[in-house]
Amino acid sequence: MNHIKLLFFATIRDRAGTKSLEMDIPTDLTIQGLKEKLSTDYPNLKESMKSVLITINREYAFDDAVVPPSAEIALFPPVSGG
């Protein structure tokens, strides 16, 4: 198992009801797998997983990327700064 940290921002944080959480995941879990796991574990997040942006260690990550050990994973909607 890998221990990872999840960060939520903006609409995703509102739905998650928390800014961050830590969890253990299988060592070969992909971003796609992580989204599925979150949809199951946190039904409030299911809808958000369709359009969420995900980063691994502060770089944008895509469905087939494998989550590395001790990763800092962030989930958020498309950015709207400026």
Partner: protein, 152 residues
């Protein structure tokens, strides 16, 4: 040569005079500065009134992506001397400057305007900052629409 590059997320007021001074070299003759500010009244699209905006950022990643925007500018416009990319976060009221992109160069006709324009466009695509709009009818997150590509 040591070219100044400023990139930061801040809760403090943007000081244009100070930021410009920080990116002015002895060889600098021109600066293009973009600032965005909170609109109290918006006419385009769904016309509406804004009481204030609340900005948040994924700070360490936002600063890294601002640095990346600056690097992209330097790659495209090698004549650029200094670059400042600053986003203010927190509760911000109409007329308040919220973001600044400034680029300096020796002359005004070698890309300094284009570089600043590129900078703000890019910031709005890849820098993880979000804003929630608070108006008379409640609050709503402003929706972005850009999906970064691998490597961005």
């Amino acid at each position: 040569m040591n070219l100044p590059t400023i990139f930061s997320i801040t809760e403090s007021e943007l000081d244009l005079n100070d930021l410009l001074a920080q990116i002015t070299l002895t060889s600098t003759g021109a600066a293009a500065i973009f600032t965005g500010m909170v609109r109290g009244e918006t006419a385009r699209g769904d016309a509406h009134v804004t009481e204030y905006l609340e900005y948040e950022a994924y700070v360490p990643m936002a600063e890294a992506k601002m640095k990346q925007v600056a690097d992209e500018i330097r790659e495209r416009w090698p004549v650029i001397e200094g670059i400042a990319v600053v986003q203010r976060i927190g509760k911000l009221y109409p007329k308040t400057p919220t973001v600044l992109i400034a680029c300096t160069a020796a002359h005004r006709d070698t890309g300094v305007f284009e570089a600043a324009r590129y900078g703000i466009d890019r910031l709005k695509e890849i820098v993880p900052v979000w804003k929630k709009e608070i108006g008379p009818d409640g609050e709503e997150w402003v929706e972005g629409d850009y999906i970064p590509k691998p490597g961005e």
